[in-house]
């Protein structure tokens, strides 16, 4: 059986519908657990005091903002190479959630920065490149909304995604390449974490919560996009009980 079969909107629509409640439930449960660990179990930071607890949403949101953009770029590549309809729809469905994550990362970073650095904002490489990421999301959404033909919009958006994805490694490595006020990575796959185990656990649980939420939101949104795009087809009309 070809994998492309699952990329047909008609096949994907019911599959996505079955997955949404599971990911939504996982997001709620993991989010609640993350808050319990973050506020009930993690100790107060000896340098930053209580305000460090912002990291339980700041770091997962920043990671998701970058990760979602990379996933959108992969779908963009599929749109350009194979011209699959669903890949363009998935990019469209992920964009608002990615923009939301970038906005949350910037806002929570700002309110953490004020008591810690003494400023809500500095034109530091990490902060500036994350702001550019937010603008890339907004630019992508504006571009696809401005083009009436959905397929042309998908291809134009895919090009923007592929050009813009170069910003993601810049965000990630900015703290190594430049002298930044933003601290370096506290969590790395190759080195021991630089924080207490309960803090790290809380942050990782919240990361999985944000991950599950983003998947649930994107799948829910892509189902609406499928209905919008395929509303004239017989299968959508049958599913919605519209007289033929």
């Amino acid at each position: 059986m070809s994998l492309f079969r699952f990329a047909a909107p008609q096949t994907f629509y019911p599959m996505a519908g079955r997955m949404v409640p599971w990911f939504a439930a996982a997001a709620v449960l993991l989010g609640a657990l993350g808050l319990v660990i973050g506020f009930g179990m993690a100790p107060t930071d000896f340098q930053q005091g209580e305000v460090y607890r912002v990291i339980f949403i700041h770091v997962p949101a920043a990671w998701m903002a970058m990760f979602i953009y990379v996933v959108m770029a992969v779908y963009g590549l599929l749109t350009i190479v194979w011209r699959t309809r669903l890949s363009g729809m998935m990019s469209r469905a992920l964009a608002p959630t990615g923009a939301l994550m970038a906005a949350i990362a910037l806002w929570t970073g700002a309110v953490w920065g004020k008591p810690t650095w003494g400023a809500y904002w500095v034109w530091d490489a990490r902060l500036t490149s994350t702001l550019i990421l937010l603008f890339l999301y907004l630019g992508y959404m504006a571009l696809i909304a401005a083009i009436e033909d959905p397929q042309r919009g998908d291809r134009a958006g895919a090009l923007l995604l592929l050009v813009g994805v170069v910003n993601v490694p810049i965000i990630y490595f900015s703290v190594r390449w430049w002298n930044t006020l933003h601290q370096g990575a506290s969590v790395s796959l190759t080195a021991a974490p630089k924080m207490a185990a309960t803090m790290l656990t809380g942050m990782l649980v919240m990361t999985f919560a944000f991950w599950a939420y983003s998947i649930a939101a994107a799948l829910h949104r892509v189902r609406s996009i499928i209905i919008e795009r395929e509303r004239h087809t017989r299968w959508v009309r049958l599913m919605l009980g519209v007289p033929q």
Partner: protein, 49 residues
């Protein structure tokens, strides 16, 4: 401002954003279904990707 005020600003904004997105998701789905029910043209199904 004390630290808990900053924490409230961070978590409050996040909660507002998520609530806003959930409302937008529900609204978009409702509008998509209403539009599909309103329109009458039918095209053949395309089962490819």
């Amino acid at each position: 401002m004390n630290h808990w005020t900053y924490i409230a600003m961070a978590y409050g904004f996040t909660a507002l954003c998520i609530a806003g997105e959930l409302v937008a998701l529900g609204r978009r789905r409702r509008l998509a279904i209403e539009r599909a029910r309103r329109e009458r043209d039918v095209e053949p199904d395309e089962e490819s990707a």
